[in-house]
């Protein structure tokens, strides 16, 4: 996994330190398991600023593995990760979609 450089149309993702769950950074500087509620950056500077918030959270020992991911707006206007890998992180293992906690979070997907 090559680290992305800050750019527009990105999200910040990480894993919750306590549970390990995949989380995404919101505009309110909180973390959500639902990427549709995550902040989608508008510019490289915006991504940079969001990364800064995430780094503070990491320093407070709340999350691990903070990283930028590419994302875009879906038809319904909510953001979603665009790369395969991040799609899998958001939805759970492709071979056991029934089992991940993601299934509980987003049962309709």
């Amino acid at each position: 996994m090559a680290d992305l450089k800050p750019a527009s149309s990105q999200m910040i993702s990480a894993n919750d330190l306590w549970t390990g769950q995949v989380v995404f950074l919101t505009r309110a500087a909180s973390w959500t398991t639902d990427p549709a509620r995550a902040a989608l950056s508008e510019s490289a500077e915006d991504s940079e600023a969001l990364l800064g918030l995430a780094a503070q959270s990491n320093a407070r020992a709340e999350v691990e593995l903070v990283h930028l991911i590419a994302a875009s707006l879906r038809d319904d206007g909510t953001p979603w990760p665009s790369r395969n890998r991040e799609d899998i992180r958001a939805l759970g293992p492709t071979v056991r979609r029934d089992l991940g906690y993601q299934a509980e979070v987003r049962p309709t997907l």
Partner: protein
């Protein structure tokens, strides 16, 4: 089964207390993410794509029913009801939380299990032949040696921060079921008519980005000197192994860069220095360990059993399973039964909590309480009576564990890949599932015979693709999952590394490509040649032509 004494138990308990403390230090910010990563890995805890993953050690693949029931319990309480057997005879859980991890480890400790050194840059869990103690082929049971090494390598003061991970395998049979030549150190036990009992020592084998069949460093190492020799190898590696590039840090690179001869000289010099002051305690310890192994008391039975013969005659499916999934036992009237964790279209190595409980029950009732995990991600009941085999098979079949496909095309080794693994480039499991389904048509697989297909989701090669008769490597091509095909690898006593056929395939294409390769084999094979034999006779040309046409 080795039974812990108080020292073994105390150490495991103290290690858990230590880990609990490390978790607290991370939460309070006294350990950085990077520092904590190192510590959690030493305790078997990874952070994967979706969650933490715990890899539980099953030393040399041996466990009893109590332990298997506990693994089922953990799957239910701390995970999502299943576990995954790995290519190193371990089991991993995909969903535990860090919060519960110390308690989970405490539960394991209650049945003499742990997750110590199942990850990290140190000496990993020692593996051994899954037929140990049951096969007539072996010189002796290799597991007491493996246990001696397990203890020696556990929290080793000098060798816990190595350049990279370090894997040791021990076997004592002519037929190698451990991929012994693909390990950092591979030990082959033998009885030499003149020199007595000892090991052939292979050093510097491995998979990964640069696969090597390890060279033999010693034809004969007296058994009493094993720990001293390991110390010499490990010290040489700790001091000289590369630390500038993780991909060049394994001992195989050091051995390769120095040359096996020069490396041997370094090791032998160090060994010669250590030997005069070496203790004979390990020898006494080996005796003690042997005594603490529960050796099953097998009954004297006739070589044939009428009930078995009748079932074999009458039930075709049973007959097929016995032919494919069993192996001869050293004692008359007994048999080794392999339990496939590769149902057609299933996830290789995955097992539900209920299935674990069933295997545990069968082992307790029929199998002298012994279960083995194999590096091919299957299970074994090593000591069952012929007369019980039909009952066992029926129970397994009902639970989806009765697939007759050991070492067949659908007995695919696959790493977790991009469905779980943070390092992955591509998914492995769906490819395995599709290939397995394709071969599921009965008769076809039987026609093909022995065929080992191995799939890795990245160049780390946890799925042993280099050693697959047919190997598949997932790569990332601009965000697309692509798959490279290799042919002619083998992880047995005649180890070889598979050769890449040519350009890669996409998800659908790779399944067709495997099909094409197998059809080509069937078209060219002579008499009863296996795939590997045909490939070795013909080389890659006809396969390449079938895959890519004549260019």
């Amino acid at each position: 089964m080795y039974r812990y004494d108080d020292y073994d138990q105390t150490l495991v308990n103290q290690r858990i207390a230590d880990f609990r403390d490390a978790v607290a230090r991370r939460l309070s910010g006294h350990l950085s993410e990077e520092e904590f990563k190192l510590i959690r890995q030493m305790n078997g805890v990874y952070l994967q794509l979706h969650a933490y993953m715990l890899r539980v050690a099953i030393p040399y693949g041996s466990l009893d029913s109590r332990q298997m029931h506990k693994l089922a319990h953990i799957a239910r309480i701390y995970d999502k009801g299943y576990g995954h057997f790995t290519t190193r005879q371990n089991i991993q859980y995909n969903w535990p939380s860090l919060r519960e991890m110390p308690d989970l480890l405490q539960e394991l400790a209650a049945v003499q299990m742990h997750a110590i050194q199942t990850s990290g840059n140190l000496i990993r869990n020692v593996t051994a032949d899954q037929y140990a103690g049951a096969t007539a082929e072996e010189v002796d049971d290799p597991r007491p040696y493996a246990e001696l090494i397990r203890q020696w390598s556990t929290l080793h003061p000098e060798f816990s921060f190595l350049p990279r991970k370090f894997k040791i395998a021990v076997t004592a049979s002519a037929t190698d079921r451990t991929a012994v030549k693909f390990h950092d150190i591979g030990l082959i036990l033998h009885d030499d008519p003149e020199q007595g009992r000892g090991f052939e020592v292979i050093v510097g084998g491995g998979m990964g980005r640069t696969p090597f069949v390890g060279p033999s460093l010693r034809d004969h190492l007296p058994e009493a000197q094993i720990l001293t020799y390991l110390e010499a190898v490990l010290r040489t590696y700790n001091e000289l192994g590369r630390r500038d590039n993780a991909y060049k840090a394994r001992i195989k690179i050091l051995v390769h860069e120095l040359g096996a001869e020069a490396f041997r000289t370094l090791v032998e010099d160090e060994f010669a220095k250590l030997l005069p002051q070496a203790d004979d305690l390990p020898q006494a310890e080996l005796l003690r360990i042997r005594e603490r192994f529960i050796v099953p008391e097998l009954d004297a039975l006739p070589a044939r059993d009428p009930g078995f013969d009748a079932a074999y005659e009458k039930d075709e499916d049973f007959r097929q399973w016995v032919k494919v999934n069993s192996a001869p036992h050293k004692v008359a009237g007994y048999i080794i039964a392999n339990i496939s964790l590769k149902p057609y279209g299933g996830i290789p190595g995955d097992i539900s909590a209920d299935q674990m409980d069933l295997v545990a029950d069968l082992a307790e009732r029929y199998g002298h309480d012994e279960i083995r995990a194999t590096h091919a991600q299957n299970l074994v009941l090593p000591h069952v009576k012929l007369r019980d085999l039909y009952d066992i098979w029926q129970a397994l079949s009902v639970a989806g564990l009765g697939t007759a496909n050991l070492d067949r095309a659908s007995d695919i080794i696959a790493c977790p890949g991009l469905d779980y693994c943070v390092l992955a480039n591509a998914r492995s499991i769906p490819i395995a599932q599709e290939i397995s389904k394709r071969f599921a048509a009965k008769g076809r697989e039987d026609l093909v015979g022995e065929l080992k297909i191995k799939i890795s989701g990245c160049i780390n090669a946890c799925g042993h693709h280099h050693a697959g008769h047919i190997g598949i490597l997932g790569v990332d091509r601009k965000g697309e999952e692509m798959y490279q095909l290799t042919l002619g690898g083998s992880g047995d006593e005649q180890a070889s590394i598979g050769q890449i056929t040519g350009r890669g395939f996409d998800e659908a294409g790779i399944v067709d490509a495997v099909d094409t390769v197998v059809e080509t084999y069937l078209g060219h094979r002579e008499d009863h040649e296996t795939f590997l034999e045909t490939y070795r006779r013909l080389g890659p040309a006809p396969f390449k032509e079938a895959l890519y046409g004549t260019a």
